[in-house]
């Protein structure tokens, strides 16, 4: 019996030793890593982001590749010729001025003293090479810019377009317009830009390592090293910020906001034109019914969605553009949330629940709506489930399919009815962008085959109008038309928010949602 006790004691001692051993190992590890940070004077900024991933078409930082320009400009690697101010108007950046010589000709003067991060000076020839590469390889740029010829002379760049392009300058300030040194190539998706940071390592959908651009042309960069970590899960993002693994976060889950509403953290937020909207599929017989679309528009509780599900971090949508634009907000009108009226309308139109299952039918067809959306924007699943319940109350049977695979489904004509998506409607400060991409017969994102003679005519008018005020007026008419048709339902606009530790300064949310890392970014 004594032996037994001894042996058990030994076993337990062994277990304890091993446990302590692993425990100590862990502790000493943390201790050393902490001392490393304190002894080293280098300032390192770690940023957690939900968007930097292949799924979001940001597989790397090459602006000439899909939407990768967003990463390029956000993380301070690339800069565009001009930059948007808080009212989404153009201000000088890499270029100092532009002149609209005639309908087809634009003269741009590049600033003296701007250099790429490799030290090379930026002149008109370098910008020309960059734009030519952009037009050659990028899927959207060639159509957006319609460039005929480019001439470079010292710091002056002259661009001629094939057709009048009133918004050419705005398009050049899309993230894809980042000025990069194309001679450096794009090995591993890494490019050389003019921004405050230089990329040293890139692993798609995982992380991006940046160091300070020692040659930065526009002031001293305060941070020595920056790291962007892709955290696709909003929840892990919250834990990582609380734990101190990251200094700032983009894309936090709304439910976690209350955790950071205190002195230890700073919120920076701004309204953006990223709209959460529903697009109707006119190829679907049910959706073709005007009353059905109208009832759908009346059946979505936008206020509840924004105020409750988004914790108030958002703006209720009316038309395609938010309040801060002269042509946005409530300059247009649309259906408001009114379930009773929606029921009456459907009833009058012959959509009646005959079999008592709560779902309406007409001519043997049930009021079933296949709602397609995707989860990478956390607002969309919330919108989907919320709309499903409010619409069910009216008599709709909403079948949700919220999947990362949404592209395949909406590419087919007859596999969906409503597509709920997020889109930056006014990313280049000009209203035409949304209509060109979504509402015209040849629009790439006119997924539901929407057609309106009025819209086509107004678009032609807009394309020939150079005055910004007049363009705004046309944009109001166009919005009203698509709202009257109920071809789109604009549910809300994103309040873009970044949450930082209180000691981080210089990270400011911008209405364009483009500029994040700047030379001013600092940790105190």
């Amino acid at each position: 019996m004594k032996g037994l006790k001894k042996s058990v004691a030994f076993v337990m001692a062994m277990a304890l030793t091993m446990a302590t051993f692993t425990g100590c190992g862990a502790k000493s590890e943390t201790a050393t890593s902490q001392s490393e940070v304190s002894s080293d004077a280098k300032k390192t900024f770690t940023f957690g982001d939900t968007t930097f991933n292949a799924e979001n078409e940001e597989a790397n930082i090459d602006p000439h590749d899909t939407y990768c320009g967003w990463a390029c400009i956000r993380y301070g690697i690339g800069e565009t010729l001009f930059k948007f101010n808080d009212n989404m108007e153009l201000e000088p950046w890499v270029a100092e001025s532009f002149e609209n010589v005639d309908e087809l000709t634009w003269k741009i003067v590049i600033k003296d003293g701007v250099t790429f991060s490799n030290g090379k000076a930026v002149d008109a020839a370098a910008v020309k090479a960059c734009i030519e590469d952009l037009v050659a390889v990028h899927e959207r740029a060639a159509g957006d810019l319609a460039i005929d010829t480019i001439e470079a002379d010292g710091q002056t760049l002259t661009i001629k377009t094939q057709t009048p392009k009133p918004t050419l300058m705005n398009y050049l300030c899309d993230p894809y317009g980042c000025v990069i040194d194309v001679e450096e190539g794009n090995a591993d998706g890494i490019v050389v830009g003019t921004g405050p940071f230089v990329c040293t390592e890139l692993v798609t959908s995982d992380h991006l390592n940046l160091v300070k651009n020692e040659n930065y042309w526009n002031g001293e960069v305060k941070i020595d090293e920056a790291k962007v970590i892709t955290i696709s899960d909003g929840d892990t993002l919250a834990l990582a910020l609380q734990n101190g693994d990251i200094d700032a976060a983009y894309g936090m889950a709304y439910a976690n906001y209350p955790l950071f509403e205190n002195d230890e953290y700073t919120f920076t937020g701004t309204p953006t034109s990223r709209a959460f909207f529903c697009q109707m599929n006119y190829n679907s017989p049910v959706i073709k019914d005007d009353v059905v679309r109208k009832a759908l528009a009346m059946g979505i509780d936008k206020e509840g969605f924004v105020n409750t599900l988004l914790n108030g971090y958002g703006y209720v949508g009316v038309g395609a553009f938010p309040d801060n634009f002269s042509f946005g907000g409530d300059v247009v009108t649309t259906e408001s949330y009114d379930p009773e009226k929606a029921k009456t309308l459907l009833e009058e139109a012959g959509w009646v629940d005959t079999d008592g299952d709560g779902i309406r039918e007409k001519d043997g067809q049930t009021l079933t709506i296949r709602w397609i959306s995707y989860p990478s924007r956390q607002e969309l699943p919330l919108l989907a489930e919320s709309a499903q319940a409010t619409l069910k109350d009216i008599g709709f049977d909403i079948q949700l399919n919220v999947t990362a695979d949404h592209g395949t489904i909406v590419a087919e004509k007859d596999t969906w009815d409503v597509y709920a998506a997020a889109f930056v409607t006014c990313g280049i400060g000009d209203p035409m962008y949304f209509f060109t991409t979504h509402c015209l017969d040849d629009s790439s994102k006119n997924r539901g085959g929407y057609h309106s003679d009025e819209i086509q005519a107004l678009a032609d008018e807009m394309n020939a109008t150079f005055d910004a005020g007049a363009r705004g007026d046309i944009a109001v008419k166009m919005q009203q038309q698509i709202l009257d048709d109920n071809a789109f339902i604009f549910c809300s606009f994103l309040r873009m928010s970044m949450i930082t530790k209180a000691n981080v300064t210089g990270l400011v949310a911008h209405p364009s949602d483009y500029y994040e890392f700047t030379a001013d970014l600092d940790i105190n």
Binding site: D233, G234, D235, A238, A253, A255, N256, P258, L259, D301, G304, N307, T308, L309, P375, P381, L382, A384, E385, S386, Q388, A389, T390, K392, L400, N401, V402, T403
Partner: protein, 264 residues
């Protein structure tokens, strides 16, 4: 009679009854949203609080029992029946068929289970039924193995020989003599599997490969509620405990059944 067995059986049946009559037991409509009630903490009215949409968590847990428990039971039933039939046939008749089928089951056993389930679920797309199919495809060989080896040992016994001599057809022999004698070990295997299967099914749902919203299923409810762990913990902990308690009950029942049938 074993008291433990009675208690656990009653508990397990209670769970199953809850799952079957879920609709009638919910105090609220589990799918009815009321944003005014969003994220209410547990109270007398809402025993487990409400979720982001103001839906009553307690009702959702109850209705979730249907997707979680009934689909698990269906899964276990499918693999038990299919596996046993295959195993008994192989064991009784032997020969070429036996070796082919056993090679196939070797092959399935050669795959790491969940990896294969992930692949099948990926192939079929989301949905609770697809998740059940994915797990069924990889799990049946275990049962056919048990059934086959049991059949082989029973087959050698003299009363089977006697039945054969008496002119019974193979089907009669299998139904009358073999099945009743091998049922014990198979029952034990499947009882012990319920808990595991429930967790694996919830795991697939957690990854978004099982039940789709708004269907209340415990795994996907946890997955959707993850971000509320700190702010509104009841949204994620309630389904977590529901899974835990159900698995505990079925595991206890499984252990007890095993102890009764196989006292070693």
């Amino acid at each position: 009679m074993n008291k433990k067995l009675i208690v656990y059986t009653i508990l397990a049946f209670a769970l199953i009854l809850v799952a079957i009559f879920a609709e009638h037991l919910c105090p609220f409509d589990p799918y009815a949203q009321d944003l005014a009630l969003s994220y209410n903490a547990p109270s007398v009215e809402h025993l487990m609080g409400t979720d982001a949409y103001g839906r009553d968590m307690f009702s959702r847990i109850i209705i979730g029992a249907r997707a979680s428990i009934l689909s698990t039971l269906a899964l276990v039933a499918i693999i038990t029946i299919f596996g046993t039939i295959v195993g008994v046939i192989c064991g009784y008749f032997g020969g070429k068929l036996d070796s082919i089928v056993m090679r196939i089951s070797d092959f399935f056993l050669a795959f790491p289970g969940l990896v294969f389930a992930l692949a099948v679920a990926a192939l079929l797309g989301g949905g609770i039924i697809n998740a059940v199919i994915a797990l069924a495809v990889i799990s049946w060989p275990k049962y056919s193995r048990v059934a086959r080896s049991q059949t082989l040992s029973v087959k050698a016994l003299s009363f089977i020989q006697a039945a054969k001599l008496a002119g019974d057809t193979p089907v009669q022999i299998i139904l009358r003599h073999i099945l009743p004698n091998i049922l014990g070990p198979i029952l034990v295997t499947s009882m012990l599997d319920i808990g595991t299967m429930m967790m694996e099914l919830a795991g697939l749902s957690f990854l978004g490969l099982g039940a789709q919203p708004p269907i209340a299923e415990w795994g996907s409810m946890m997955s959707n509620g993850r971000s509320m762990l700190q702010t509104y913990p009841w949204v994620v902990l309630s389904p977590g405990f529901a899974i835990f308690i159900s698995v505990v009950i079925f595991n206890l029942l499984g252990d007890t059944v095993r102890d009764c049938l196989d006292p070693k």
